[in-house]
Symmetry: C2
Subunit: 383 residues, 2 copies
């Protein structure tokens, strides 16, 4: 495998984009990325989308989107792994460029969630239909199980969960692309509508429309473009059983640990070397467990770490400087790609008010369902 770089990024605003069909959102993000990279063509493309079939009754979107982007003819492949679809699209592009099959590949993600069917029902298809969803449990309930177990085992508090949302909204208030670019208080979270104990409305990421895209190239191509280069040091991917009932320890998300282990090994790094991370905070408890799985904090200490400010901008390891899924929004297929974009912006030093000063190495962690799939990338700014 030859070395691979990310040289262009683009995304739509995240939110309820009533005026934008799926094809338009994707095209906007993709054209922005192509323009940002300064490339005059792409060799192929990958599209991450969780369920365009259920959300907008349209499959076969890889070909559709290549056509609307004006590149009908080139290989275009959709990948799906529920909410990890975007990270997986980037991973496939990294493999294809690394293999030398292509030199310039667009990896994008998209989801149109607000203009079709019941989003909760569609999202529940990421859980085990026969053993979970059919019986009425949806994702707030599944993550509530994890939260209860974590509180019971480690004494994690309701306030600490709230502090994840407060931090991510603080960060999101600095992000003009965010669905909810405003701050919230711990009290607002604690008093918001109960969804599934202990998770309340403001513990949950929203239903969102949006698209995001990046341009993946060989280092050779990247160097010729004369734009800032962010090198892909590692791409780790792991899976686990879909149904939460088969997890031995519900306070863990083993696929995250596995994908991270693969990625750290590939990069030859340890968690201490990571200067910022975008992680999959679909619910506040998810961010806590994930920061433990990634080795940023000791097991059981994640609640304390968020409340003491270790994971906020200016802290030891800033997590979700973009606002995360919670404040930036969560158009499921696009989220993993948008994470990459935030880290690329940070490593380029172009993250504006959210900038982590001098950041050189960042990590993204994108997962599907209650953690049955996970993709971890480690990126390094080299120019």
């Amino acid at each position: 495998m030859r070395e691979v770089a990310i040289v262009g990024v683009g995304m739509t605003r995240f939110g309820e984009l009533w005026e934008s069909p799926l094809r338009n959102m994707f095209t906007e993000a993709a054209l922005t990325a192509i323009d940002d990279a300064g490339v005059d063509h792409i060799d192929s493309m990958y599209v991450g989308a969780m369920s365009s079939g259920l959300f907008v009754h349209q499959e076969h979107i890889a070909s559709l989107l290549a056509d609307y982007l004006g590149v009908a003819g080139i290989p275009s492949t959709r990948v799906e792994s529920a909410c990890a679809s975007g990270g997986l699209a980037v991973r496939q592009a990294v493999i294809e460029v690394g293999a030398g099959v292509s030199d310039i590949v667009l990896a994008g993600g998209v989801e149109k969630m607000t203009d079709g069917v019941d989003a909760i029902d569609a999202l529940a298809t990421a859980a085990d239909q026969e053993y979970e969803a059919f019986h009425g449990i949806t994702f707030p309930g599944l993550y509530a199980f994890i939260a209860n177990a974590h509180m019971h085992r480690y004494g994690t508090t309701r306030e600490q969960l709230a502090d994840v949302a407060v931090k991510n909204h603080d960060h999101g208030s600095l992000n003009p692309k965010a669905q909810f670019p405003f701050k919230i208080t711990r009290e607002a979270v604690m008093n918001s509508t109960m969804v599934a104990w202990p998770l309340r409305l403001l513990d949950c990421s929203p239903v969102t429309d949006g698209a995001a895209a990046v341009i993946v190239t060989s280092m050779d191509v990247a160097e010729k473009l004369g734009r800032p280069i962010v090198k892909v040091l590692a791409s780790g991917h792991a899976t686990d059983g879909l149904a939460l009932h088969s997890r031995t320890d519900p306070t863990t998300i083993p696929a995250v640990g596995r994908a991270a282990e693969i990625a750290f090994k590939q990069a030859g790094l340890t968690p201490e070397k990571i200067e910022l991370a975008e992680v999959h905070d679909c619910f506040t408890i998810a961010e806590l467990v994930v920061t433990e799985e990634l080795g940023f904090v000791e097991r059981g200490r994640s609640g304390e770490a968020v409340s003491s400010g270790e994971t906020r901008l200016g802290g030891r390891i800033p997590v979700n400087t973009s606002g995360g899924l919670k404040a930036k929004g969560h158009p499921v297929g696009a989220s993993g790609v948008a994470q990459i974009i935030e880290v690329v912006e940070q490593l380029r030093g172009s993250a504006g008010d959210r900038q982590v000063e001098g950041a050189r190495i960042g990590l993204t962690q994108n997962m599907g369902g209650s953690g049955a799939s996970c993709v971890v990338h480690i990126l390094e700014g080299v120019s």
Copy 2:
């Protein structure tokens, strides 16, 4: 890219498998392939499925199926390109092994179509939802447009269309895995229920449940296994606009020609060197146009070629010796993988009553929608 081989194959019977859920079908095919290859593990897997979301309300199936196969943990990725999803799964495995990311990859396809929603509605999501499906046109109608254009331009006859179905049922009658393992007559086709002029019921491939899987390895690994080796000489992939109205010439399917051109170039071969082919006969007219796009017959001569026996077992270039989608069945995500399996069996000399004597080089052509995506593989038996 290093050289890549297919060393194991497995599939379920195709048909209305009421007793088999999606996860069981896939596991049966995958275990058969693993056993056939004689490998003791797989490094990763790809799953092709068109719309498990609409058909059985289950997304995130790559992780689900890895778990049910007993390999939860390994990278597992679903790819989708409508009815070309299976071919694409094989292609991604070829790229991953070729890149050296993995040595042993399972590529499978699956679709459970008979036990859920209206299959015709779900299949129509492979067409352009905004400009085609929403207005009521489904695939028989789209292919009827192509058939009418071909008849008008080249004088292709209703009888020649029927002869595609007759030939493929003749072949399918020799295939114990086929959904319809029996012969039909030209008269039966000509008198079957009208669906969309000129296409009648027996011009259409059926709605089918089924799964298929192959094991893709490096040549190094393949040689150590001591089983018959089939080398992947080429993997071509191309796209086109989803909506038929944007096609300049409706008697052509340009993505097929493009994918074939890429594949022939990679393999360093011309169409004359291909000794048998499995092609995407979702409707009788599709097989006719595809055999022209692949260069097996001159443009406009495909109807004459089928009626004169050029494309039947014993003919110049046997097409769809398995029975094709028409008689073997068309579980959409699995079809592209099942095509590969038929060609592998032929190149191993183990195709039984359907054997093309001494066949050494074969081709598969799998496409999505009305031809907006196409994957072409060229395979060579080397031991």
